[in-house]
Amino acid sequence: MVEAFAVASGKGGTGKTTSTLALGLALADDYDVTVVDADTGMANLLFHAGLADVDVTLHDLLLADTGASVSDAVYERHGMRVVPCGTSLSDFRAAEPERLRDVVAELASDTDVLLLDSPATLASRDAVLPVVLADRTVLVVEPTIPAISDALKVQEYAASYGTDVAGVLFNRVTDGDAVDRVAEKADRYFEGPTLAAVPEDDAARAARRAGEPLLAHAPDSDAARAYREAADVLDVRASDADAVADRFRSAVVPDQP
C-alpha cells in the first residue's frame, strides 16, 4: 500500500529539499518511506542527505546498458530509503526518461510513502511530471506574495492533472503570529490544510552544510519540531500499490531539457 506525494513549490529557495527530507524522516516513525530526487536536472538531495560521494544514482538507472539495478541506487539513511540524482550533466543528457517511470513504479511497489522532491518550476514537461504522477502534492511556501502566488499556480496545475493538495507547509517563517493570520486567510484558496508553520532556523542551514537532514542534525530544533507536527497532520492514505505503479508505467515520456 502506497501513497505518492510530490513535494513542490513554484520557485526555488523555499527549502523544498530540506522539507522533503524532514517530512520523510518524521513519517519514517510510522511508515516505510522512500524519498526520490525527482528533479533529475538539478541534483540537490544528495548534498542534503550526505550522499555526495555515492557511486550509483538515479541517473545510472536512466542510462542504457549500465546494468545497474534499482536497488543499487537506493540508500538506507536515517531510517528511510533515499534515491539521489547524480550531478553529471552528460549522464542526464544520455538518460532515457521513460526508464524513470519504471524506476519509480518499482519503488512504489515496495514502500508506504513515496516522497518526490519535485523541480521548483512549472516551465517544462519533465518538471511537472512528478506532480502529475503523484497522488497528492505538498506545497512548500514561504509567506511572501510571490511564493504564495507560485504555490497557487502549482495547485491549479496539480488539480488540472487530477492531483490533490495534501497540505500547505509555510516555511522559513520569521513572524509566527502574522503567519497564523496569513495561513488563515490563505486557507480559503488552498485545497488542503495548513500542515505547519516552520520557523526560519539556523539549524536548517547548519544541517545543509553538514550534509545531514535537519531532523537528524538538530532533532530538538524549533524547525524540526514543526516538521514533525506537519507530518502528524498529513493523513497518509494508502492506495493500491499496483495502481500507483501502473500510473507511473503509463505516464508520458518527458522531454529532454
Binding site: K11, N44, R125, A178
Partner: protein
C-alpha cells in the same frame, strides 16, 4: 579541495544565478564567460553563496571584489557555471568583496525579478521582517486578483496538457 558538484554551460548570467538560487547553493560557484574574444584579461568570477544567495564576489582576472568584480564579470553571452556545494569559498569574506543579495542579478543579468527573488531569500531580509506581513494579508484579501492567478494557471495547465501529452491525466 572540494570536488565540483555541478557543472554546466548556461545561456546567460541570469540562468547561472537562478541555478544557484533554485538549488540553494551553499558554498561557491565559478562563472566563466564562454566568449573569450570579449575578454581582455580573461578570468572567472568566483561567487560565494549562502543558501542560494550571493554574498561575496571576486574576479580572478582583475583581483577586484564586490561591485567592481561584477563590473569585470559583466560580459554578455553563455557562461560555464561550476558549483562547489559545501566548499569554503576562495573569496575573502570582507566588506571589500561583499555584494548585496540582489546586486549580481541586477548588474550581471539586468533581471529585476530575479533580484527581488534573491533578496526575498536573503537571511538579512528575513531578519528585518522581509516583506511586510500586512502586505501579504492584503494580497490574500484580494479575491479578484487571486481568482485571476488561479484561472490563468488553470488555462495554462490545460493548454500544456495538450502540448506535453498529459491529456490522459487532464480533468475536464
Amino acid at each position: 579541495m572540494t570536488p565540483v558538484s555541478f557543472s554546466r554551460v548556461v545561456e546567460d548570467a541570469a540562468a547561472a544565478l537562478e541555478l544557484a538560487l533554485d538549488r540553494e547553493l551553499t558554498g561557491y560557484a565559478e562563472f566563466t564567460p564562454q566568449d573569450a574574444l570579449l575578454l581582455e584579461d580573461g578570468g572567472a568570477g568566483v561567487l560565494a553563496f549562502e543558501a542560494g544567495v550571493p554574498t561575496h564576489v571576486k574576479h580572478s582576472g582583475s583581483g577586484r571584489g564586490g561591485d567592481a568584480a561584477l563590473a569585470d564579470l559583466a560580459v554578455p553571452g553563455p557562461l560555464r557555471v561550476e558549483c562547489y556545494a559545501g566548499g569554503d569559498p576562495p573569496v575573502p569574506e570582507t566588506d571589500q568583496f561583499a555584494v548585496a543579495p540582489g546586486t549580481p542579478a541586477e548588474r550581471l543579468a539586468g533581471d529585476a525579478d530575479l533580484a527581488d527573488r534573491t533578496r526575498a531569500a536573503a537571511p538579512s531580509d528575513r531578519a528585518g521582517g522581509g516583506e511586510p506581513m500586512d502586505a501579504v494579508e492584503a494580497f490574500l484579501e484580494d479575491d479578484e486578483k487571486i481568482d485571476a492567478i488561479r484561472e490563468r494557471a488553470r488555462e495554462e495547465a490545460t493548454e500544456r496538457a495538450d502540448e506535453w501529452g498529459f491529456e490522459e491525466f487532464a480533468e475536464d
